[in-house]
Amino acid sequence: MNIYIYDDYLNKPKYNRILSRVEIRLTDLSLNGKIIRLGAIRNVSDVIQNEIKNGAKTIVAVGNNQTVSKVIGAIIDNELYGFFQKNVLFSIIPIGEDNSIADSLGIKASEEACNILLARRVKKIDIGLINNYYFLNKVSLPSAGAVLEFKDGFSLSTDQKGVIEIFNLRSATNDDKRLKVNPIDGLLDIYIKTGKNIKDLTRLTADSLKISTASNELLVDGTLNLSAPANIGIVRGKLNVVVGRDRSFD
């Protein structure tokens, strides 16, 4: 059974038409399931746990990056998840803006997402963890004054203006195509870009690090603002995801 979790902002009239088209496509493809609206429930984790117990095979986040963050956290923090992990798939139907995560997974458009769901091309991917929040795409922050400390006993810092991006998964459209990012290797891909036209590039990989920054601005998956200091790690192979062909990884 498929569970579709609709974010609150989809209640706005401007999304009625696209939602209607998506629902018709899902019906045509015999992919109907149960619709759960986030605004109507208090504890997302409990609701998802019940659905998994009742045989839900695919949890689909219908919305944007923020929707994905809410749903992922609720799925993984679920005490049953470890037991059901190999049988439960996650997917996304992107609607509106801020959909870099869906883009990374090769899911570019709402109706196309339904076809991708039917095709059931599955990849087991890593998930990033920053303090108590999960992220799929990246954490970004200004580079000047930031210090990155690694458990192997070294640290990196720069006083130049630019950006630091800590990737689990790269957006196929939005992110710099120079960057090599692998979401199935158990490692975070860390890039520091400074200099004129951001030509000076630093690259390394790590499974965990601690960030301190004077600016205190950490942006998670393009939507959530957190304060430094922060501990960032990776949870390997934690999520079975339905992906499209045009994804940003193999």
């Binding site: 580079s143 192997d152 640290s155």
Partner: protein, 136 residues
């Protein structure tokens, strides 16, 4: 094989790149090829190859399989195979290698020793010497 900066093609896809604006402090032990264009204080170790850029400032001991050095190093250098010093290399420390090439202009202030030479010397000393009869 080598471009103008003496950067072998294999460094194009290095696992680790430290850009010119970044400072690394501590023991940096990586796997795969490493490029240093910035500053490093501590130690640098890899089982693969190291490229030190012209503007790099390294205060560290370095261990690698092969290395190409164009910048400034204060520390010992231990290379198990081939070490190439470019014309802008400035080394303050002892250097150990299997094979070495030094471009004109490189500055070295330290002892140079080859473990390849030591092995050859040991092999030569065990060779049997032919004894020729004395001429009457």
């Amino acid at each position: 094989m080598f471009n103008k900066e003496m950067k072998p093609e294999k460094f194009k896809d290095a696992e680790t790149i430290i850009g010119s604006s970044v400072t690394v402090k501590g023991d940096f032990h990586g796997t795969g090829n490493i490029i240093i264009e910035g500053s490093l204080e501590g130690s640098l170790k890899t089982d693969a190859d190291v490229y030190i850029g012209e503007k790099a400032q390294v205060v560290a001991n370095i261990e690698a399989e092969n290395a190409t050095i164009n910048g400034q190093i204060n520390g010992t250098i231990k290379i198990s195979q081939y070490l190439a010093l470019g014309s802008t290399a400035k080394i303050n420390g002892d250097v150990n290698f299997q094979e070495l090439s030094v471009s004109r202009g490189a500055l070295i202030n330290g002892r140079l020793s080859s473990h390849g030479a030591a092995r050859n010397k040991k092999n030569n000393s065990t060779d049997k010497k032919e004894v020729l009869p004395e001429e009457e």
